[in-house]
């Protein structure tokens, strides 16, 4: 460690992690027996860490941390906020999540990091086989969606904005597009159009709920004889719960539970949530696909915008311009009168 308490850059992460565990668990020493980075995420640096404690216990942990300064990805979120959300969800217990264990503000690990229990299981997305029967997975996905709706809003921490009513929640979600686009170096007519369209075509309201923010089957871990475990809560907020399911309904992920059988999907969603056909139908899903994409879409656009401003960025930022174009097409098709 240097004089400022920061970890030297060349200190191997397993060593840093052992020092961190010594700080949070001073009564027993830990040895890292395996440290395996997990690839695939666009936003956070994640690793599985196997630990043996001096009292003989062995544990598997997940380390989820911000990228080092200067190596940030396209998507960003606040680790302090996520840690508060995880603690609140764990204390509430309505939805099953990996147990959050410790948090480092960067003192030991060099960047903000959350440590949680490793949970055995398979991402629901990986259980989907082309031409398979998607109904069991659809039921799991929508049962979890209904569970999210049962989380009492007062359980969420103060860092999460608690909207006064449905209208202000929707306006706030729409304004992710409005505010984001205004900050870009160049006007984006598609985003301006859909922002106006979202304001002019609000669907019938439903009770506010917890919005996961990236509610796709890849973020639900399943295993036999156990409740599904929901991961990746970095974009969580309070809003219209249809944002989550709508976001997924238009996802380009392969083997979509929605497009495989939209009628079954929507009927089941209405059944498990008690929402009406007026509140849940294909048009409403398309509306919430656009709204639910707001944060990720704007962050992709900000990534490209940074390049336009002359900031050096990883090639991912440029690569994702293709993704922006893909969603532009979808948006224009949905909003067409």
């Amino acid at each position: 460690m240097n004089e400022g308490g920061a970890v030297d850059d060349d200190t191997p992460m397993p060593v840093r992690f052992e020092r961190f565990l010594a700080a949070v668990e001073p009564d027993r020493a830990a040895t890292v027996t395996a440290f395996k980075p997990i690839s695939g995420g666009y936003s956070r640096v994640t690793a599985r860490v196997d630990v043996r404690w001096s009292d003989g216990d062995e544990e598997k942990l997940i380390l989820r941390m911000d990228p080092p300064p200067g190596k940030e990805g396209v998507f960003s979120s606040e680790r302090d906020r996520e840690w508060s959300v995880l603690q609140a969800l764990w204390a509430d217990g309505t939805v099953t999540i990996p147990r959050p264990r410790w948090y480092d503000t960067g003192e030991h690990l060099g960047t903000k990091a959350i440590v949680m229990d490793f949970v055995e299981g398979t991402p629901l997305q990986l259980t989907l086989q082309p031409d398979g029967d998607f109904r069991p997975a659809t039921d799991i996905y929508l049962d979890v969606a209904a569970t999210l709706q049962r989380i009492p809003l007062k359980a969420l921490p103060g860092e999460i904005e608690h909207p006064d009513d449905w209208d202000s929640a929707i306006d706030s979600a729409i304004d992710i597009y409005g505010r984001g686009e205004r900050g870009l170096v160049e006007s984006d007519p598609v985003i301006r159009y859909v922002t106006a369209w979202l304001r002019a075509n609000k669907p019938p309201p439903v009770p506010l709920g917890v919005v996961h923010g990236d509610f796709q089957p890849g973020n639900i871990l399943v295993a036999a004889g156990r409740e599904p475990v929901v991961i990746d809560w970095e974009f969580t907020r309070i809003g219209d719960p249809r944002e989550d399911v709508g976001y997924y309904s238009g996802s380009p992920l392969p083997n979509s539970l929605y497009t495989a059988d939209a009628d079954y999907f929507l009927a089941r969603y209405r059944q498990v949530t008690g929402l009406s056909e007026e509140q849940v139908n294909p048009d409403v899903m398309r509306y919430f696909f656009i709204l639910g994409m707001a944060e990720l879409m704007i962050q992709m656009m900000q990534g490209a915008d940074a390049l336009a401003r002359g900031e050096p960025k990883p090639v991912m930022n440029t690569f994702l311009i293709n993704s922006i174009s893909y969603f532009h097409q979808n948006y224009v098709d949905i909003c067409r009168p």
Partner: protein, 136 residues
């Protein structure tokens, strides 16, 4: 200047070299993904270089006409920065006109604006060079 090979041809040749020579020699999986992304970005850029000035000048006139801009500023030059600047101004005028049309419930005008957007996003699709999303 040496106009041939064109910028499109030069970039496509870089893309070929990247995938046929560099990529097979890379062992690190993360770097492989980066090289593959670079390849697509090069092919995106090749297509842009071939068409962007023509496409932007074409759309500038259409967007300013839709917005009813009485005297749209003339293009300062055909240098890319000047065209992009004019395109940005026209996009802003078009965006504001579409917002007003949606707020006023003017479906006929919105439909006309959507046709302009179809042209815009259609060209964006061409620039994607065959890329399709694979999910996160």
């Amino acid at each position: 200047m040496i106009s041939r090979p064109t910028t499109e041809q030069i970039l496509n040749n870089c893309s070929r070299e990247l995938t046929e020579v560099v990529l097979p020699a890379v062992e690190d999986e993360t770097v492989k993904v980066t090289v593959m992304m670079l390849d697509l970005v090069l092919r995106n850029a090749a297509l842009r270089a071939a068409h962007e000035i023509a496409w932007m000048t074409d759309e500038i006139a259409a967007m300013q006409a839709f917005a009813g801009t009485a005297r749209p500023p003339a293009l300062a030059s055909l240098h890319l920065d000047a065209v992009a600047e004019a395109y940005g101004a026209a996009s802003e005028a078009f965006s504001a006109a579409m917002e007003s049309a949606v707020a006023a419930g003017d479906d006929a005008k919105v439909r006309r604006g959507a046709e302009l957007m179809d042209r815009r996003v259609g060209r964006e699709e061409e620039l994607m060079a065959g890329w399709t999303p694979v999910g996160r």
